[in-house]
């Protein structure tokens, strides 16, 4: 992979420069959180961001949008006017989630609402030092080899830039004056040391081995009932999860006309209505069953199909759930470790 260097003080100039490829989106501080926002002022971007409150998915499949317009039986959709976007600051966990979503939305059937937005989106990844909620080392999503156009590793006085795509290559060539092609032996050393330091900073210990078998053997476990009693069914964990793609569809019509929009809106497997079939029968009536579905999907089913969990260790559910039902607590309880209930 081609790699180049960028001096730290040149980052604003570089981001200014790549804006010729599209709208720049990056993590911006808002009150107590960081939010992925469109920004013209590159100085607004908060490089200390560990996780944005919502992940990139809000840009690739927004919380609510019109799939198509209908007028009687005429259906029209317009996907031509989507903007080109650059998302800056995705960490390795989110890039892994992006790869999972890329696969999900193209397998069996292509979902044009996702793929058309995705085609117009460039990714500039950014390295990070984990906080106490990060566990991407356990999900093996702490490094990336693909899924980005550029990836910046922060090595004190400069950024090492990995070039991951033809578009990324174009970006580096757009501003040749500030891009340094010469990688020196001491740069390599710095990178290795940085990796060592980064790896030493993981604070959360979570063991994800043998999860499929553990789930198989815990199907009737009392843990699901106990966690179900606590679950608020608020759906927050699914909303902030970068690998939760489920949605709900409804029609919105205009007053007095048979004309309107077919809307798509984020849904959650933790909502009761989610598993309802005709005549009101519900296949997952209890909170416990719904929780079990969520965690089985993330940690067992996905492993069976892809050899890795659908959890990328970003820590968003840990940060978000008001009653502490998250990947970490569930995994620990299933493994029989002591967790405060």
């Amino acid at each position: 992979m081609r790699a180049v260097k960028l001096r730290k003080q040149d980052l604003p100039a570089f981001l200014k420069c790549v804006q010729s490829f599209g709208e720049l989106w990056g993590p911006v501080r808002e009150k107590d959180r960081q939010v992925l926002k469109k920004t013209d002022d590159v100085n607004q971007i908060d490089l200390t961001t560990i996780r944005t409150s919502l992940p990139f998915k809000k840009l690739l499949f927004p919380p609510r949008f019109s799939m198509f317009h209908f007028s009687g039986n005429k259906y029209t959709t317009s996907l031509e006017h989507l903007p080109n976007r650059i998302i800056f600051g995705l960490h390795p966990c989110d890039i892994h989630a992006l790869l999972i979503m890329d696969d999900f939305f193209t397998r069996s059937f292509d979902d044009p609402y996702y793929t058309e937005r995705r085609k117009k989106t460039a990714i500039i990844g950014f390295s990070c030092i984990p906080d106490e909620k990060c566990f991407c080392h356990a999900t093996k999503t702490d490094t990336v080899e693909e899924g980005f156009d550029l990836f910046l590793t922060d090595l004190d006085d400069f950024f090492l830039i990995w070039v991951g795509s033809s578009l990324g290559d174009d970006m580096t060539r757009e501003c040749p004056k500030i891009i340094d092609e010469g990688i020196l032996p001491e740069d390599l050393k710095k990178y290795v040391e940085w990796r060592k330091y980064r790896n030493s900073q993981f604070k959360m210990d979570i063991d994800l081995t043998s999860m499929p078998e553990i789930f198989d053997l815990s199907y009737d476990s009392v843990i699901w009932e106990e966690e179900g009693e606590k679950c608020l069914s608020c759906g927050a964990c699914t909303i902030v999860c970068p690998t939760c793609p489920c949605y709900h569809v409804y029609d919105k019509i205009e007053m007095g006309k048979i004309e309107g929009e077919r809307m798509r809106q984020w849904d959650s497997c933790l909502f009761k209505e989610y598993s309802m079939v005709a005549e009101g029968h519900n296949f997952r009536e209890s909170r416990a069953e719904r929780l079990k579905l969520r965690f089985t999907h993330k940690l067992q089913a996905f492993v069976g199909e892809y050899g890795k969990p659908a959890c990328v260790g970003c820590g968003r559910c840990i940060e978000t759930c008001p009653v502490d039902i998250d990947i970490a607590t569930i995994v620990r309880r299933l493994r029989g470790e002591e967790v405060k209930v």
């Binding site: 919380p63 009693e229 608020l232 608020c234 007095g256 809106q265």
Partner: protein, 260 residues
């Protein structure tokens, strides 16, 4: 829509602030369509030539707080094919029903009004309209959200049953990427409350007061325990739960607290 296909619609207000009818009136961008797509037979807040003819759809806001209103409500029901409750007062009783079911209404009433004699009205404990008549559809809110109302209305006048998702306020609040007030130990009713308001209060750093009424899957006991853990007292939590939830909260509260 053809003139003879248009539905006859009436709007009525009982005890409440008229905020729901005002929300409709204040939706200037929708008013022309609203008036054009149906025959508005009665809407005393907006026009003067109202009549008491038979209706396809009656929209009712406000709670019932005297005998005369109860009779009027029943009379409207009789001449309406569909009855839609709009706003928290009609759906759950509103703030005036916050003590609903906790007995002692007579006592409270006397404390405020003494032995005053009511010549024109016979006061009763304030209750949501479905205590008196069958309601076909509920559009909650305090006040209703214009987008949600017109979405529902557009479907109802074509004889469709609109779908209002059973999400709590938290869902919309996460979409808007607000700071979670519950995590900060603030008494926020987001997880218990039906969405539709676009999480308007938490978006302004104010806790959810529950004015949309409870969401179907509200886990009242878990929220109760969580708030107690955060250091709030049972009394504080109970008061907040009851504030807007009138008839909607009685059962789950009884379940946790035994007697109220």
């Amino acid at each position: 829509m053809l003139e003879n296909q248009k539905k006859d619609v009436g709007l009525y207000g009982f005890t409440g602030c008229n905020g729901d009818q005002l929300t409709i009136i204040h939706s200037e961008d929708k008013l022309l369509d609203f008036w054009q797509s149906v025959h508005i037979k009665s809407f005393s807040l907006a026009k003067s030539d109202n009549d008491d003819s038979d209706l396809d759809i009656a929209l009712v806001e406000g709670s019932i707080s005297n005998q005369e209103q109860a009779e009027h409500m029943k009379e409207i029901r009789k001449r309406s094919k569909k009855l839609i409750a709009i706003g928290n007062c009609a759906c759950y009783g509103g703030v005036q029903a916050m003590e609903l079911g906790s007995k002692g209404w007579d006592q409270r009433f006397r404390k405020v009004y003494g032995d005053a004699f009511f010549e024109l009205r016979t006061p009763i404990e304030s209750k949501p309209i479905d205590v008196f008549v069958d309601v076909d559809f509920y559009i909650p809110g305090c006040p209703i959200n214009a987008d949600q109302f017109f979405y529902c209305f557009a479907h109802l006048i074509q004889d469709h049953v609109p779908t209002i998702p059973d999400h709590p306020v938290c869902a919309e609040c996460r979409w808007r990427e607000n700071d979670c007030l519950l995590l900060k130990g603030i008494l926020c009713l987001g997880p218990l409350t039906a969405s539709g308001c676009n999480a308007v209060c938490p978006s302004h750093n104010l806790p959810c007061l529950g004015c949309w009424g409870p969401v179907e899957e509200a886990n009242v006991s878990s929220e109760f325990n969580l708030l107690k853990e955060k250091g709030l007292t049972q009394e504080e939590i109970k008061r907040r739960f009851r504030m807007h939830n009138g008839s909607g909260i009685i059962k789950p509260l009884k379940k946790i607290l035994g007697v109220l």
